[in-house]
């Protein structure tokens, strides 16, 4: 399992790097799709069907919105002047990120490795959950019964985003 996920991750990282350095914005948006749909495959491999369904459709809608925005404006990226300053920036960035990665590895050294996760809080969400919530799908049981308050907040977030987009895209702000 670790190997298959890592292989997909290599493709996702390649897609992400291309998305950041792409000359044409449209290909950058499509390259972001590589990362998004790679994530869907990872979710399926990691036994998370709910997430795969939501992620694949949300990714498609995000791509539609981004392509609509990019096609409506300019597709050409700003020519990055590849001078000395950007090389210096690249090198310092690489050193900082190597440090962060080392620090991260140090932090997760003695944590459970992939697959050897033990349950504590979610013990109650799995054993006997069908009797408590009546829902056969455990994830729906967690979302709509054990932690329904989170999902209420979640629905409010999407509502706020819709209200925010309506407010931001009105033509005249002041009377």
């Amino acid at each position: 399992m670790d190997l298959t996920i890592s292989m997909i991750l290599v493709f996702m990282i390649a897609g992400a790097l291309f998305a950041i350095h792409a000359k044409d914005l449209l290909s950058a948006v499509v390259a972001m799709g590589i990362v998004g749909y790679g994530l869907v495959i990872c979710f399926l491999l990691l036994k998370a069907p709910d997430l795969a369904i939501v992620q694949i459709v949300v990714e498609t809608i995000t791509l539609v919105i981004m392509v609509a925005v990019v096609l409506d404006s300019s597709r050409n990226e700003i020519e990055a002047t590849f001078d000395r300053r950007s090389i210096l920036q690249m090198v310092t960035g690489f050193i900082v990120f190597a440090g962060l990665l080392y620090f991260f590895l140090l932090a997760i050294e003695n944590l459970d490795s992939l697959g050897s996760h033990t349950l504590r809080m979610s013990e109650a969400y799995v054993n006997g959950a069908v009797e408590k919530t009546g829902s056969v799908n455990l994830v729906t049981g967690v979302i709509f019964d054990f932690r329904a308050y989170d999902t209420l907040g979640e629905a409010v977030i999407l509502y706020t985003a819709a209200l925010g987009v309506l407010t931001l895209l009105r033509l005249k702000g002041k009377k």
Binding site: D50, E131, G134, V136, F144, A162
Partner: protein, 145 residues
């Protein structure tokens, strides 16, 4: 924006209904099969977006569409909060408790309040994403003219 070619329009006519029914299936069987309120709502929103893309926004009167979708969205989430508050009065007098009988696991009408939550959250998610998409389309229409 103008619609696409006739072939796409014809295919979309066939597909959009199917996607819409599939979305409803995902919502109603949320507590039985993978998926649920969020997944079904997003699929239904996808069906509507497909229709708007294929047929273009000239046929639709967008202003009423947006006010309609944001209206249903506000109504749906209001019902979710009222359902949560109802559990404050009935059942165990605690916020968001599952106060309806649980029924037999595996049945369609089984998990107490969960199917109702699935339904309302699904409608709310579909309404919200549709409002976002329509707001973008209207802005592109109005600002380009």
């Amino acid at each position: 924006m103008e619609g696409m070619s006739v072939i796409i329009k014809k295919v979309t006519q066939l597909l959009a209904g199917l996607i819409f029914v599939y979305g409803i299936y995902i919502i109603l069987h949320g507590h039985l099969t993978p998926g649920g309120g969020f997944a079904g709502g997003v699929i239904i929103a996808g069906a509507f977006i497909l229709l708007i893309l294929a047929f273009g926004s000239s046929e639709l009167n967008l202003k009423t569409e947006v006010s309609g979708s944001s209206g249903t969205e506000s109504l749906a989430i209001l019902l979710v909060v009222i359902l949560a508050l109802m559990s404050l009065l009935l059942g165990a007098k605690v916020f968001i408790v599952n106060f309806l009988p649980k029924g037999l696991p595996g049945e369609l009408l089984s998990a107490g309040v969960i199917p109702l939550y699935n339904l309302f959250v699904g409608v709310e998610v579909a309404g919200a994403i549709l409002t976002i998409f329509l707001a973008l389309v209207i802005f592109k229409e109005e600002s380009s003219t």
